[in-house]
């Protein structure tokens, strides 16, 4: 009997025609009151780390305590993007945006905003002029963005498909299946010139067409959610925050390509993404949006989730496909494209999360709308993770072609602690650094490549003058030597040799000719490595040499690290005239290298010092007595003292 009921319910839920979807949406909207008070709590990774779960619990108990359950809705949403100021809470319908919300603030929000309908001033955003901003959209961080792909995150509870459908979700799929042939869908995506948002920017439509035309009945479509680029997390936030948008794009793509089986490859570091997409798949199956005869169109399609096991190289398309087959995720020679011979040597089309999530928009609003945004060669918007030494870190979505300066200063609010901008790194380990003089370059696929960097998946790491560029090159090579699969000689040995050279430069043992040797190795690795990880591995080295050769030279010839980062080249020194003898650094020194007493000038014994930097960090900023000095400076300073 129980079975009968369940089956009956399931058949009633199944949408067997596009009109059913329209009805379902009407039904959902009729149950919702747009004027009703609703508290949304960002539960993206950033806010989660700041304790959004506790904030949510506090809201639930406080609202219960005040008996407001009927009047006020609560919803946990995906990432809003403004991770710097988490936990982000938005109160609808007015869209009052509170930042840095802590559990202690909840009683006040409930009493003031939810009961008295007044704003809690102290939790609002405050601009440079001290002006308070009430609505999310008016905050400069958001005002300069155009969040067409990412924006819905903030309205949606990712575990509830109704939220997505209420916003018009799956209407693009219905349109594609009922009004368009696969060829028309393909044409639209080609016309939109949608370029893959995961790396090289290969036109998605062309790739789809190759897969569609490749011989073989069975074809696969794949979502690449391996997002291994350090510094990028937009794919994670999309998959966690709005999984159905990715799924809808994937189904549309499968329809255009003629595929009936899809994979979603998620890195294991993203358990919440796995959880949310798993729920999304179950819901979509229940509603008949996955499985046999989707929306009564006769088109069958289903998806499996494959968890990665922690390897950057698995993001490379052939390696990812090998991993899905259950083998070691090593790249293989790609003279025959994966679009023709991928998983189990069958035509396989791979795009990343953001690319798939863009597809429904193109189908709904048309290629003309999409090509209206962006630059000549790069259409639409791109999500960047704006991180590093910038004031407003977070995920930002901007039209292609916005100058770097606008992104960093208008949206990012400039450099932290009033320091000086030095460079911005894009494209992850395959990308490069961009110096200040190129800040007005419009950001798109081609311009970034011209500057010796690349779009990659959209990491944008801002660096100030306390970042050493040799150290950054070393950092990336260290990363790559750990992540290279080790199969081919140029990548395995080339990275190793370059890293050794950079290590010695940073250790103050750089030799004349090291820069040239680095360049020589770099060219060989670029031209002869097996996969994209290898051929792009020298980019961080080449681009730092290209724009910051003087820093390399300072390290090698003067044994000087201008940014004061390379430990071997600096010493910590307490300026006697500034030291107030507060004992803080003395107590924090792990090796007891600091001598002195209360109200007595402190002194670092250099032979004991391990250069951990604790003293530098803890010295109160009003004194700023601890400084970094090069060997020469130290000798001078000590000399003066004596």
């Amino acid at each position: 009997m129980a079975n009968l009921v369940a089956t009956d319910l399931e058949t009633r839920m199944r949408l067997s025609a596009p009109s059913d979807l329209v009805e379902l949406r009407k039904d959902i909207l009729s149950r919702r009151d747009p004027t009703k008070l609703c508290v949304t709590i960002c539960s993206g990774t950033g806010c989660h780390a700041y304790g959004s779960e506790e904030v949510y619990e506090s809201f639930v108990s406080e609202i219960q305590k005040k008996g407001l359950q009927k009047k006020v809705g609560i919803r946990r949403t995906g990432c809003h993007g403004f991770c710097e100021r988490g936990t982000v809470v938005v109160v609808f319908p007015e869209e009052i945006c509170y930042l840095h919300v802590k559990p202690d603030d909840i009683p006040e929000i409930v009493a003031t905003t939810l009961t008295e309908r007044k704003v809690v001033e102290r939790l609002l955003y405050e601009d440079q002029d001290g002006q308070k901003i009430v609505q999310e959209g008016d905050i400069p961080f958001y005002k300069h963005q155009s969040r067409i792909v990412f924006g819905n995150n903030r309205f949606i509870d990712p575990k509830n498909m109704e939220d997505y459908i209420a916003l018009g979700g799956y209407s693009a799929l219905a349109k594609a299946l009922s009004e368009m042939t696969p060829e028309l869908v393909l044409d639209e995506v080609k016309k939109a010139n949608l370029r893959g948002r995961g790396g090289g920017g290969f036109p998605a439509g062309v790739k789809w067409e190759t897969t569609r035309n490749a011989p073989g009945e069975i074809k696969y479509v794949i979502v690449n959610a391996d997002e291994g680029d350090p510094g990028a997390y937009m794919d994670r936030s999309l998959l966690e925050g709005n999984p159905h948008s990715v799924l809808e794009g994937l189904i549309i793509g499968a329809y255009a390509i003629g595929s009936h089986e899809g994979f979603i490859y998620v890195r294991q570091e993203y358990p919440l993404a796995v959880e949310n997409i798993t729920i999304a798949l179950e819901q979509a199956r229940k509603y008949g949006l996955l499985g046999k005869n989707i929306l009564g169109s006769g088109f069958d399609f289903d998806v499996r989730i494959h968890r990665g096991a922690g390897a950057f190289v698995s993001g490379e398309s052939s390696a990812l496909m090998t991993a899905i087959e259950g083998r070691v995720g090593e790249p293989r020679p790609k003279y025959i494209r994966t679009a023709v011979s991928g998983i189990w040597e069958r035509p396989s089309n791979l795009n990343n999360v953001e690319t798939w999530a863009t597809v429904p928009l193109i189908i709904n609003k048309g290629a003309d709308w999409f090509t209206g945004i962006g630059t000549k060669g790069s259409k639409g918007t791109k999500i960047f993770s704006l991180v590093g030494k910038v004031n407003n870190t977070g995920l930002v979505e901007v039209p292609m072609g916005m100058p770097l300066r606008d992104i960093i200063y208008k949206i990012g609010g400039g450099i932290r602690q009033g320091k000086k901008f030095k460079a911005v790194q894009t494209g992850g380990p395959s990308g490069g650094v961009i110096p200040e003089r190129l800040l007005d370059t419009p950001v798109d696929f081609d311009e970034l490549s011209k500057m010796g960097s690349m779009m990659g998946s959209g990491g944008m790491i801002v660096m100030d003058d306390t970042t050493c560029m040799v150290d950054i090159a070393r950092y990336f090579l260290n990363f790559l030597s750990d992540e290279s699969c080790g199969k081919c000689v140029p990548c395995r040995e080339g990275i190793h040799k370059m890293l050794k050279i950079l290590n010695r430069i940073c250790a103050g043992e750089g030799r004349k000719g090291d820069i040239e040797l680095l360049e020589e190795i770099a060219v060989v690795v670029q031209t002869s490595a097996l996969c994209a990880l290898g051929t792009t591995a020298p980019n961080p080295v080449l681009s730092t040499i290209r724009y910051f050769r003087d820093e390399y030279e300072a390290h090698i010839h003067e044994k000087h690290c201008p940014a004061g980062v390379c430990k071997a080249l600096i010493s910590y020194y307490i300026q006697p005239d500034k030291c107030k003898g507060c004992m803080i650094c003395l107590r924090n020194c792990p090796v007891g290298a600091i001598s002195g007493g209360k109200r007595e000038v402190h002194f670092i014994q250099q032979n004991k010092c391990t250069k951990c930097g604790n003293c530098f960090e803890v010295c109160p900023s009003k004194f700023a007595a601890v400084t970094k000095a090069t060997a020469v400076q130290l000798a001078q300073a000590v000399g003066n003292r004596d």
């Binding site: 070691v328 199969k487 040995e493 080339g494 040799k497």
Partner: protein, 339 residues
């Protein structure tokens, strides 16, 4: 290639495609002739049509199960020998199977070597021959290598085409019997298509009609020199690398010596897997940590009898590598402490 010319074929009855294909591949590789069927009906039909020497039956099949099929087949062909395999072993079906005349009953997963033993006891051994890894039978194409017009067949690689006319492209990881992997990259060549030229790895790059290949152009030589200098620092003193260093005028002091001797060409790994079908050697780790390892706890009696991988090691230092890779394998004792 077919070793068992006078041998009756084996019939494999298994509904699950992956399992069916992998057992079939395994047996075919050894040299047996294998027929397959997906269910009992199909299997019984095959028995009617040809003489089967041995039957491998999955227990659970759609329609008639493996035991019924065996019983019916034995009724008609009393000499037939067969084995039952199953992912759902039970004492009851095991007893039934042998009562019905199965020679053995193997719960999945089973060691394929065990299956081979059983078959060998019944059918006798096959003569193993090594087949070239790539059988080439495509259409003929013409390409130009170093100015020489070369006729090749589609499916061949540029390296094979070059070798067929005596052009020597250096390589340390290629072997004609093994799947090429493009690991050492020494066989890098320059190809020209219209205006564009590109460096490709000739051991994996397929021939195309009209392709122009330069095997010793300047960019090619620069790549080889650098790669050789790197390899020398890992395997100093190795004859094969020394010879190539001399051929290309490589400065052998370019990099500090950091000997590991193994250059990770993977020939031994592929030989043990593809030719010997033993998989006693494998890679472990990744990046600069990558190493060649012998199976932990493997029975080296077989290795000492075979030793064929010694012969193909380009460094010739294989034996000294025997003790190299040690896995950081945990022990049950440590596990107990942690639990």
């Amino acid at each position: 290639m077919k070793g068992g010319k006078n041998m009756k074929p084996i019939l494999l009855v298994e509904d699950e495609a992956v399992m069916r294909e992998s057992i079939k591949d395994w047996l075919t590789d050894i040299g047996y002739e294998v027929e397959t069927a997906e269910d009992g009906e199909q299997a019984l039909k095959t028995f009617g049509e040809q003489e089967i020497g041995f039957v491998i039956l999955d227990l659970r099949l759609p329609g008639k199960d493996g035991l019924e099929v065996l019983r019916e087949a034995k009724a008609k062909h009393p000499q037939l020998k067969g084995v039952i395999i199953t992912a759902y072993p039970s004492v009851e079906t095991a007893v039934e199977a042998i009562k019905h005349g199965a020679v053995d009953y193997l719960p999945k997963p089973f060691d394929l070597n065990r299956l081979e033993e059983i078959i060998r006891e019944t059918l006798g051994p096959v003569q193993i021959e090594i087949k070239p890894s790539r059988e080439v039978s495509g259409e003929e194409v013409t390409l130009t290598i170093d100015g020489i017009e070369v006729k090749a067949r589609q499916g061949m690689t540029v390296l094979q085409a070059a070798q067929s006319v005596g052009i020597d492209i250096p390589t340390l990881c290629y072997h004609e019997k093994l799947t090429p992997v493009g690991a050492c990259r020494l066989c890098t060549v320059e190809i020209v298509k219209g205006q564009r030229s590109q460096l490709v790895t000739s051991c994996v790059y397929p021939v195309e009609a009209g392709l122009v290949v330069r095997t010793e152009s300047e960019p090619v030589i620069n790549v080889r020199k650098m790669l050789l200098a790197m390899m020398w620092s890992r395997a100093p003193g190795v004859q094969a690398i020394r010879d190539l260093c001399i051929r290309y005028g490589v400065d052998r002091n370019k990099f500090e010596v950091e000997p590991t001797y193994c250059i990770l060409c993977g020939l031994c790994v592929r030989y043990c897997s593809e030719v010997k079908k033993k998989n006693f050697i494998g890679f472990v780790g990744r990046g600069t940590e990558r190493q060649v390892m012998f199976l932990p706890g493997a029975d080296f009696k077989e290795c000492s009898k075979c030793g064929e991988c010694y012969g193909i090691c380009p460094t010739g230092l294989m034996p000294s590598n025997y003790g190299l890779a040690q896995l950081p394998i945990g022990t049950a004792r440590e596990c107990c402490v942690s639990a």
